[in-house]
Amino acid sequence: MVAEAQGATLGQLRVWIDSFHTLVAEQKAYLTELDSAIGDADHGINMSRGMNAVAAKLDVSSPSTIGELFKTVGMTLVSTVGGASGPLYGTFFLRIGTSAGDVEELDGSGLGTALQAALDGVLARGKAQVGDKTMIDALTSAVEAFRGAVQGGSSIADAASQAQDAAERGRDSTTPLTARKGRASYLGERSIGHLDPGAVSTALLFTALAKALA
């Protein structure tokens, strides 16, 4: 099982998407509830509309490369979600797809590079920084943890599990922050004390990844 331990296969990455879909469906109401506190009460609705569309799309088209898989996921999200999360999550997956290219497997460092490209894309698209109380807070810490773990010699499964932990820490770090991007920024200091909904869905994304690569 050496091959599996070293890389992430197309099948595993497909499982990543499927289990993110499942988690989003399960947490739809919770994500919307979080967004109702400091946003406009639709983050769960948006993400689940998008991931349902992704699942439907993947059911009919069976991408044969990792690049194709993530471009399909990204394009579907871009064209069905709208709102802030559509372009952000869409860009995230599109960039993974571009970075991965026409391969059927990615090793830890390749996946790390792809995740970094994805993070850079989201940063460019949303112009948020760490500490602005957005999904960037969870995403940055997850991507850093993943790449650090791979560089330090961890298996891809371990790296994913560390990325999950880091995403959850990044998620939790948003609670005391004042929002400076997105709708929550209208609240100013009144956004303090609430979790950022996008950071919570991002943590789910890395829970799903850890599961898929475990």
């Binding site: 919307t32 639709d42 948006n46 509309r49 064209s79 709208g82 709102g83 802030a84 400076r180």
Partner: protein, 331 residues
């Protein structure tokens, strides 16, 4: 939730069926959820595309027609439409003179339109200019926020840029005019009750029976402060003062007293009387006015005030003929 709907998921699609049936002069692309002027594209006319979350009707679909928009992209309720909708609209309305995107300043809208403009330039070579409206004085405009929200001035931008495009002005001129309108306008709103997003099924926020939200956003975003319910004349003050404090409006203005959707026209006229009185006293000259539901927030009770500094050029463009479901004169 008491709504005239079939299922929360179908609200926008079903409403577009009604819009198509009610307005044979418009063309509706149900797949992409776009409302078009029946005669678009018009050769050598700058195309105007707007769009945003649904739930603000008549904005934007009700402002499609001669002298105003060429296309409006309908997002889910309170959720910006997607780039492929806007890209499709951009391609369809381009008559060779380029396309102006009119966007309300919300993170989602801005990012989705940005992706659309990138895609349009890449794939079809259409030149796109963009104006982002941001007139809501309730929000602090600073590096620490997503910036001011785009609200009532969007109606004025669509009308005036629409008239300019209809008269054959080029893309740069139309875009500059649109930006000038945005920069010359300010708005402020109040909610007496919340709205309810169909997919959410319950009110967006709770507002006790004796309180109101001053500075509310058109998606029910919180405003400047929550205060005890007051009389119409006090409310008018709380809306007009921050606007006048933000920009000098001495000289001719166009004023809109806009209903949020759930307040009777009787009350909107009453509020307009109060606003007009304050403006008179502040030395603001009302050259034109609009009273009614123009940019709404579903069934929210409340209203907003928008002021636009208007010179002769803007007044002439304002008075130019317009023929849309939501705004019509001169034709």
């Amino acid at each position: 939730m008491k709504k005239l709907i079939n299922s929360p998921d179908d609200v926008v699609a079903d409403a577009l069926v009604g819009i198509a049936a009610a307005h044979p002069q418009l063309r509706v692309d149900h797949e992409h959820r776009i409302v078009y002027r029946g005669d678009t594209p018009r050769q050598n006319k700058v195309g105007l595309v707007s769009g945003g979350g649904s739930g603000h009707e008549p904005l934007h679909g009700g402002f499609v027609g001669a002298g105003m928009l060429d296309a409006a992209c309908a997002g889910e309720v309170f959720t910006s439409p997607t780039p492929d909708q806007m890209q499709e609209a951009t391609k369809v309305v381009d008559g060779g003179a380029g396309v102006l995107h009119i966007i309300k300043n919300y993170t989602g809208d801005v990012m989705n339109f940005e992706m659309a403009a990138e895609m349009a330039a890449e794939e079809s070579g259409v030149t796109v200019e963009t104006v982002v409206t941001n007139d809501d004085v309730a929000v602090q405009d600073s590096l620490y926020t997503a910036g001011r929200r785009g609200v009532g001035i969007t109606v004025f931008v669509e009308k005036i840029a629409g008239a300019a495009a209809e008269q054959g002005m080029d893309l740069a001129t139309v875009a500059a005019l649109a930006r000038r309108v945005n920069e010359s306008g300010r708005s402020m709103g109040v909610a007496l009750t919340s709205c309810t997003v169909p997919a959410a099924g319950k009110p967006t926020f709770e507002l006790p029976e004796d309180e109101m939200e001053i500075g509310v956003g058109i998606h029910g975003e919180p405003g400047r402060h929550r205060v005890p319910l007051a009389s119409a004349s006090e409310i008018a003050q709380q809306l007009v003062e921050p606007i006048l404090a933000d920009l000098d409006f001495t000289g001719d203005t166009i004023v809109m007293l806009n209903g949020m959707g759930g307040s009777p026209l009787l009350e909107l006229y009453l509020m307009y009387g109060e606003v007009k009185n304050l403006l008179d006293r502040a030395g603001v000259t009302v050259a034109r006015s609009l009273v009614g539901n123009y940019i709404t927030s579903l069934e929210m009770a409340g209203c907003s005030v928008t002021l636009l500094r208007a010179d002769d050029e803007l007044l002439t463009l304002w008075d130019a003929p317009v023929n849309t479901p939501g705004l019509r004169w001169g034709v």
